[in-house]
């Protein structure tokens, strides 16, 4: 018989650390049904009969954010055998607010007061027994960081779980509220799940729309309850939701007065002193810029590039030298082995070029990812990440993005893959999705060769080409923010920026390494599955085809299936000004890696080995493109569906094929519209425009402006709320 213990607590209360200590490496990471909120489960190290479920970090069980709803649904619906509630001892007052709600669920609660080492160091005392008596549940002192008290806390929780008791909460509201709640319980007799009557009654009193929806009560019953609520509201001159919240906090304030002895009056803590400088009016932005430059410089420019070169050109390339010994790269080793075994040539090519080449170019990112994720984990764990949101919020929220969206965008200039994965630090699900969708608009380092090729070949190396590409990327991000926010799926109230600024602290190396590894590993797994398949598919398409009347491997890419397919779809790009099949093929191969756009032109034009700036191609390209169709091609390739690795990362972060498809279609659709406008208006100004093209461009602009400027419809939450009130 397996027992389930839910681990609940505020964000920044040390929940993740505790979970890691409790379960060790026996963890499964998935996601909660229907939302992109990560779900972690694991077997208790000391007792394999017990499953620990890590709930998302929450402040309350209100019905509004997806994290809170997920936690509620689990606690009420799946009814775990016990709740281990981790509480930050240095911030007892706000942390106990969640506790007062957890104790009402009819599930045994064990409270683990964390950071006791800090509390003791400050000379403060928490009267554990008193707290335990008042709250009616076991209270244990622990330090997740130092590892003290955890075994005892876990043992107590397991005992409670195995005893299967239904505890009564000791905490009461004031007379008139209790009166109303008792009335509601009475009116609902027989309709509420056993053991959870009080929880449901309180939620009905709060007019919690999710509970009202779930219970499907007849209208007269709701009206009856409404009377009780109204009379209580009149008496206390406040609305029901505030009454409950106020009373919870008043109760806690009284509790703290009895159970917490503070040694010194709170003065400037170390955290305050750090913030005095770090979020200072004048210093905050320079410090932020310095931190970002350092992070970017180390993970993308120095260590990242060095490690990437080693991985891409050494391990997955020709070979590398290790202390003076030459170590051949994986491709040549495998190629030799396969040839020696007498494998067919096509199989050798498939394994070496298709699989190792494709997956290798993706795995080449791993060292860079490791370094980057280490830094991000540090910024997150030490508390600076919330300061970043604090500093940058003003700029990004104008465009419907979060203050933390800055980090994915910045990292995205190096590579979209870690950029997209860095979006995981954004709490709001909506902001996170929007950031994931828009990050790849920022030109990554693989798009630079494409930009520089076209800049030199068509525009004579004009200075403005590269900056304009970045500018276009940024504008695409910001406009998408405004535009997407107005669609139903992204609608909803602006995520409130009511954010805790947690006290700074040194993270443990163990936690940093763990977080770094978890994120990188999920990417490696993706590379082994989706990306592997895509690489093989594209390799197959570009190497097989019909030549001299029979199907087989082709030496000229012009005969390949990919080229045939390119021919087939080339007409799609006619409005964008490039309808030659080679452009379509280059765009398709760009899906493996964007720098392939350049090399594909090289192969198709028979240019052989390309020099750094692709000078061999300039002549042909300038014959093929007009300046505006060239710019349209460039813009299309920068904004459209990113490379397979980035799509894999999007899939990983979205946890949903549907959302991934939406992201990719949106990106490609936007790219198409922008490129069309560029080409058609360019032609118009050059005096070669057609009325049809111009009309199409005008239509696109009009549609775009409409989507951008139309008024946002009221949020569905507010609508439901009003309906609820009308009842």
């Amino acid at each position: 018989m397996a027992y389930k213990i839910a681990l609940a607590g505020n964000p920044n209360s040390g929940k993740t650390t505790l979970f890691n200590v409790l379960t060790g490496s026996n963890q499964f990471v998935g996601n909660w049904p229907g939302v992109t909120v990560e779900k972690k489960e694991g077997y208790l190290k000391s007792d394999h009969e017990v499953v620990v479920v890590d709930l998302p970090g929450i402040y309350s069980l209100s019905p509004y954010t997806s994290e809170e709803v997920v936690a509620r649904r689990f606690l009420v619906g799946e009814h775990p055998d016990a709740i281990l509630n981790i509480v930050d001892g240095t911030n007892l007052e706000r942390n106990l607010y969640l506790t007062t709600q957890l104790t009402e669920l009819g599930i045994p609660v064990v409270i683990a007061v964390n950071m006791m080492d800090v509390v003791t160091k400050n000379g403060d005392v928490i009267h554990i027994h008193r707290l335990s008596d008042e709250l009616g549940c076991e209270v244990m002192e622990i330090s997740a960081l130092k590892g003290t008290g955890i075994a005892e806390a876990a043992r107590t929780a397991v005992e409670k779980a195995k005893a299967r008791m239904h505890p009564e909460p000791k905490h009461n509201f004031s007379g008139s509220v209790e009166h109303a709640i008792a009335h509601i319980e009475e009116a609902m007799a027989g309709r509420l799940p056993k053991g959870q009557e009080r929880w449901y009654a309180i939620k009905l009193f709060e007019r919690d729309m999710r509970v009202i929806e779930e219970l499907q009560l007849p209208a007269e019953l709701i009206a009856h309850i409404e009377e009780d609520i109204r009379s209580c509201e009149r008496e206390l001159d406040d609305d029901a939701e505030s009454i409950i919240t106020n009373e919870r906090y008043n109760y806690i304030t009284a509790l703290i007065r009895e159970c917490y002895t503070r040694k010194n009056a709170p003065g400037m803590t170390i955290s305050d002193k750090i913030d005095y400088i770090v979020t200072n009016r004048w210093l905050a932005l320079p410090i932020f810029a310095a931190v970002m430059c350092l992070t970017y410089y180390i993970s993308v420019t120095t260590v990242g590039t060095w490690a990437n070169d080693w991985a891409a050109n050494g391990v997955f390339g020709d070979g590398w030298t290790f202390f003076g010994h030459f170590v051949p790269g994986i491709p040549s080793v495998v190629e030799n082995a396969l040839t020696n075994w007498g494998c067919a040539d096509w199989l050798v090519r498939l394994v070496v070029d298709g699989i190792i080449g494709g997956v290798g170019s993706v795995l080449g990112f791993i060292p860079q990812l490791l370094v980057l994720f280490f830094f991000l984990a540090f910024l997150e764990a030490c508390g600076y990440m919330s300061r970043i949101a604090f500093i940058m919020d003003r700029i990004f929220r104008k465009f419907g993005l979060s203050g933390k969206s800055f980090i994915p965008m910045l990292i995205g200039t190096g590579c979209s893959v870690p950029g997209i994965m860095a979006s995981r630090t954004i709490e709001s699900e909506r902001d996170r999705k929007m950031t994931v969708i828009t990050t790849s608009f920022i030109p990554c380092s693989a798009k630079l060769p494409v930009i520089s090729l076209f800049g030199s070949a068509i525009f004579g190396g004009a200075w403005w080409v590269a900056p304009s590409a970045y500018f276009a990327g940024i504008v695409a991000v910001l406009c998408s923010g405004i535009l997407l926010k107005k669609f139903r799926m992204f609608r909803g109230e602006d995520a409130a920026f009511v954010m805790e600024l947690p006290a700074y602290h040194w993270p443990t190396p163990r936690n940093l390494l763990r977080s770094m590894w978890e994120r990188s590993w999920s990417f490696i797994k993706k590379a082994g599955t989706v990306i592997l398949l895509c690489s093989m598919l594209i390799w197959f398409l570009s190497n097989f085809g019909v030549a001299n009347g029979r199907f087989g491997m082709v030496t000229d890419m012009g005969d390949s299936l990919l080229a045939a397919f390119g021919n087939l779809i080339a007409w799609i790009f006619r409005p964008l000004g490039f309808d030659e099949w080679s452009c379509a093929v280059a765009t398709l191969t760009g899906l493996v890696a964007k720098e392939n756009v350049v090399s594909t032109f090289g192969v198709l034009f028979g240019a052989g080995e390309l020099s750094e700036n692709g000078a061999e191609l300039w002549q042909r390209l300038s014959e093929m493109f007009t300046p505006y169709s060239a710019y349209a091609f460039l813009i299309f390739n920068l904004l459209c569906c990113p490379c397979v690795a980035a799509v894999g990362a999007i899939r990983r972060e979205m946890h949903s094929a549907k959302w991934t498809l939406f992201a990719v279609s949106y990106q490609t659709g936007l790219a198409y519209c922008v490129a069309l406008t560029v080409n058609q208006l360019g032609a118009l100004f050059a005096g070669r425009g057609s009325w049809l093209g111009t009309a199409a461009a005008c239509l696109v602009i009009a549609g775009f402006l409409y989507l951008l400027l139309r008024r946002k419809k009221p949020a569905p939450v507010a609508e439901e709320k009003r309906e609820g009130a009308a009842v």
Binding site: Y59, S60, S62, Y64, T65, T90, N91, L92, E93, R94, Y97, D238, E241, S242, T245, N246, Y249, N250, P266, S271, D275, T279, N280, R281, W282, A284, L285, S386, F390, I391, D393, R394, I395, R397, E493, D494, A496, F497, V498, M499, E500, L501, P502, A503, A715, V717, A718, K721
Partner: protein
């Protein structure tokens, strides 16, 4: 009506009522801003928004637009 938005840096005020409705209001209250709570305004972010507050022994940041919903003494 005096709101939290008008409070100058370094001053401490007491909450009278939280106006507004829906998720944001509930979230503000859940974070401990309820009737009678003492709030100290620490500073505003370098770009003028949001504000940094101290209440119930911890630091909270809040946009000015939301601070406007909080009536203070």
């Amino acid at each position: 009506m005096k709101t939290l938005k008008d409070v100058r840096h370094g001053h401490t005020v007491r909450v009278v009522r939280v106006h507004g409705e829906g998720a944001i209001r509930r979230h503000i209250m859940d974070m401990g801003i309820t009737r009678g709570t003492e709030i100290t305004v620490r500073k505003t972010a370098p770009l003028g928004d949001p504000m940094e507050l101290t209440l119930r022994g911890y630091e909270l940041s809040l946009r000015k637009a939301d601070a406007e919903m909080i009536e203070v003494e």
